[in-house]
Symmetry: C2
């Protein structure tokens, strides 16, 4: 309660190569600072409509209900679980990392009976395990939840078979696309994924704070046909739809400036084109992987399941991974991520997402890592990484 | 799914004199556009700590748990209800407008048995009604919820007696300070208010998107001593505290740029000083009221309960209030609010909050309103409003 005297923030200038947030394009930073207007201003309604159009393009769907939730990706995850599940419903949750576990935790909090299907860290979920879970289920399963791009391990989960099994069994398919949307194709329409959500601060390269979500007609029907009230108000889609839909009925004050930022981030994707953007992410991730492997480092994930947006590197023996991260930050202003959950201390997570996925960043990062590992006595051949990456970069 | 071509946003420049958002100071708009950094960056931890210090100053409390929730004011409301209440708990909710009703709705969704104490629109809650509700209650009441500044009516609710009655009866006191914090003194410490929350886009003059909340030791004990899991994950304070507290354990990706903005908005309050800020809001609201009354308009709320941040004006007979608002917007770029709920079509809501609470805005608004009402054939004496307001403005 005493008087404080807090000075300027002194925000450092970082190269963000962790699991998110990624660097934000200068145009998006300008957009977020456009003067705030009212959440019921006709011009804001126009910007909301445009944002929905752009989101549908980036999510590659015609789904009517495609909106940004007023919270981070975890709020979008909660929105999906909270609205789709009623107490007593059965859910199969695929857990191959921290974010799968989070989905299972949430589903349980909303009263669902959760069956977990898991895979070892760094491996995708095996579709036959999902089929087995259906066979074991005593009653119909309302939904199957799966993480498309597991941010804690760097695994890209193939979705086709799992979605097929779920639909055969009359279940909704709920997909976490937090670390894939905008960097990797998310097959919303082709696989009839019923509920898909994401976050703004990964491959969309917008500041964190919004959670895009899309629901198809099946999911929308399930939500509007609930027997019980949603156990929450802020993330109740039926209420929020009255604001984002034609009615424009006030629900909560939309985070106006965050919407400006998302609008601009999506416009940048529109300008680049989704196909070109996917190719850029794919090619840069391969360069990074080749550079790391040329240095003698090992990656956690097998080639077919490697996520173009996030690469998990196994920390070499006798290296304190936190020291390396800390030196990258203090000496080079480069942020990368450490391991989460069971992988804590065992891996680095290197993100090449959106505006961060650029050739010059790969070159700088590999040089910095080589420098620091060399100075810590790890046997790395100087210049090997760049030569490795260069095969592709040149 | 077809290609879209969305152009620039073309954000208009508005004078925001509605119920929020208010205009944002240029320094805050610059702050929100500072380059994004990681939510686990040591420099971000420092900025988080400074934000907490500033929030404690502005909320006038030493409460350890004083943090901004990663959602709007409604998310902060939900945080308060969700964490404090367990299924079967009893709550008394004071309803004197839309936001009181929202609190009652939420408390019910979280399984509480809710007793509503209400007052007519535009009047504050009578403390004796709260006492009566306690007498009627069959079992101990866990909390009493009350709106300090009812944004739908413009009523400033006296809190002392209600807080006293609640505490005598062993209940927690939960206060909605969305439209008061930063513009009107909120007696967090003097009245031992147990849980108080607010929003950023009103008298703090920051863009919408964060919901500051503070809990004292009693409330903190009630939350951490819960028998059941919180029925949600995103707003679970015990989890969030592991990130905002000393542990710095990852929960969700903080809305980094919104925190930059809040930090700067709070620094502006620190520079102005709370006392000076309260006086400015008080004096400007009186000028506005005198100007409006000099024009022959009537205010909804009696003098002792008028909210300095928000003034409710009764729409004169035979005037379509929406036409006036629409013309203020299109001809003058001025936004004011219409009525909510039962007051729809019957009042205008004029906010003078934070950076919007300035002499030049009052003069412009009164002139514009006089012009439009005059042109609609309402008998207003030209110049009367300004002369009325001027008594104080000069």
């Amino acid at each position: 309660m005493q008087d404080v005297l807090v000075g300027d923030r002194k925000v450092p200038s970082r190269l963000l190569l962790g699991p998110g947030p990624s660097n934000v394009h200068p145009r998006v930073l300008r957009a977020i600072s456009e003067p705030t207007i009212g959440h019921l201003d006709p011009d804001f309604f126009r910007i909301m409509n445009e944002t929905v159009l752009l989101l549908r393009y980036v999510m590659q769907t015609d789904n009517l209900m495609t909106i940004p939730m007023s919270g981070t990706g975890s709020a979008a995850m909660e929105t999906a679980m909270l609205n789709a599940l009623e107490p007593g419903d059965r859910a199969i949750v695929c857990v191959c990392g921290v974010f799968g576990s989070r989905m299972a935790d949430m589903a349980g909090r909303f009263g669902a009976e959760v069956a977990v299907v898991s895979s070892p860290m760094g491996r995708p979920i095996a579709p036959e395990d999902v089929r087995r879970a259906f066979k074991k289920a005593a009653a119909p399963v309302k939904l199957v939840a799966v993480v498309h791009a597991e941010t804690s391990t760097g695994v890209l989960q193939p979705l086709e078979e799992i979605a097929g099994i779920a639909h055969e069994n009359g279940s909704l398919v709920l997909v976490d696309a937090v670390t894939s949307l905008g960097g990797v194709p998310v097959p919303v329409a082709p696989l009839h994924l019923d509920i898909v959500y994401s976050a703004t601060q990964k491959a969309l390269s917008c500041p964190p704070g919004l959670g895009p979500i899309t629901l198809n007609d099946n999911a929308f029907r399930a939500v509007s046909g609930r027997k019980s009230h949603v156990g929450g108000w802020y993330l109740d889609l039926s209420l929020i739809w009255r604001y984002w839909g034609e009615e424009r009925f006030y629900h909560h004050t939309a985070p106006v400036n965050m919407i400006f930022a998302l609008h601009e981030a999506l416009r940048l994707i529109q300008e680049e084109g989704l196909e070109a953007r996917f190719k850029r992410h794919e090619s840069n991730a391969r360069s990074l992987a080749e550079g790391l492997e040329a240095m003698g480092l090992r990656l956690l994930v097998d080639v077919p399941y490697r996520l173009p947006t996030l690469t998990t590197v196994i920390v070499p023996p006798n290296v304190d991974e936190a020291v390396v991260r800390s030196r990258l930050l203090s000496e080079y202003n480069i942020e990368i991520g450490g391991g989460l959950g069971d992988l804590k201390g065992r891996v680095w997570r290197i993100g090449l997402m959106g505006y961060s996925s650029r050739r010059e960043n790969i070159v700088l990062f590999l040089s910095a890592l080589e420098d620091i590992l060399g100075s810590l006595g790890v046997a790395v051949e100087r210049g090997a990484a760049l030569a490795g990456a260069a095969k592709r970069l040149m």
